[in-house]
């Protein structure tokens, strides 16, 4: 999975929990463990959106998190891609139409890649990251 010349650096991801139950978080952590080890391809989680190319969002966006999500999204330098992990972020899941939601995620920020599941398996998350990388390469390619 060597990046093309359009995107010639490591893909760094920032994870944002917008109200998830932590099921998706556990699977994201499982996806970065030595069993899969995506860091050997330069894919790693970073602690600040300012270092990130990819925003991974879990959870259905509760009211308290909307402003924070928008702020974090704005702080990621362009070009950037957004990946929504889990059923809650995609549709609201079991919290669909709840009084306490501002989501689903694509009602708040534009989403490029959806990874369905409750929670999705690590393989699915890694597949989503590969799709996100491909999207980022297309964006970079257009920009060149």
């Amino acid at each position: 999975m060597k990046p093309t010349r359009a995107f010639n650096e490591s893909l760094w991801a920032f994870h944002f929990n917008s109200g998830s139950c932590n099921g998706c978080e556990i699977e994201i952590v499982a996806a970065i463990t030595p069993r899969y080890d995506p860091e050997r391809f330069g894919i790693k989680l970073v602690g600040s959106p300012k270092h990130a190319d990819l925003l991974i969002i879990t959870g259905p966006v509760v009211k308290k998190m909307k402003d924070r999500l928008l702020r974090v999204y704005a702080q990621i330098p362009d070009p950037k891609v957004v990946m929504c992990v889990g059923t809650c972020g995609i549709s609201g899941g079991v919290f669909y139409d709840s009084y306490n939601l501002e989501g689903p995620v694509d009602d708040v920020v534009p989403v490029d890649v959806y990874v369905p599941g409750c929670p999705p398996r690590p393989e699915a998350i890694i597949h989503g990251v590969v799709k996100a990388l491909a999207k980022l390469e297309r964006i970079e390619g257009v920009g060149q």
Binding site: R71, A74, D78
Partner: protein
């Protein structure tokens, strides 16, 4: 090496040329680090604001350590004194002149009585 050891002290050698050289080297290194930074940040947007876990950045004034924070223990220990003195500190020049005249008159009375 004579030029680099013009001033010898108990702590070592000091020479302005050596310091200037060190400053230039540090400036070049700092510039190289700066030049490798992200250039696509948009000024005046959230992208240049500090990341505080997604929370809004507080106003700059709320983050500063004020002078009063530094001598809080002093003022707190002398609270009884300041509670009486601060109300007298009205900022009105007439009050201060009145105090000045009153104290001057008091000193003159003391001087006259005890001389």
């Amino acid at each position: 090496m004579e030029i680099f050891s013009s001033l010898l002290s108990g702590s070592g050698a000091w020479n302005p040329l050596a310091w200037l050289l060190a400053f230039v080297v540090a400036a070049v290194i700092a510039y190289l680090i700066w030049a490798r930074g992200e250039r696509s940040y948009k000024k005046g947007t959230e992208q240049t604001a500090p990341f505080i876990s997604g929370n809004k950045e507080p106003p700059k004034g709320d983050l500063h350590v004020r002078a009063g924070n530094l001598y809080w223990g002093y003022t707190d220990a002398l609270k009884g004194y300041y509670e009486r003195i601060v109300p007298l500190h009205s900022g009105d020049m007439n009050d201060y002149v009145l105090w000045y005249l009153g104290i001057t008159a008091l000193i003159m009375v003391i001087v006259v009585v005890f001389s």
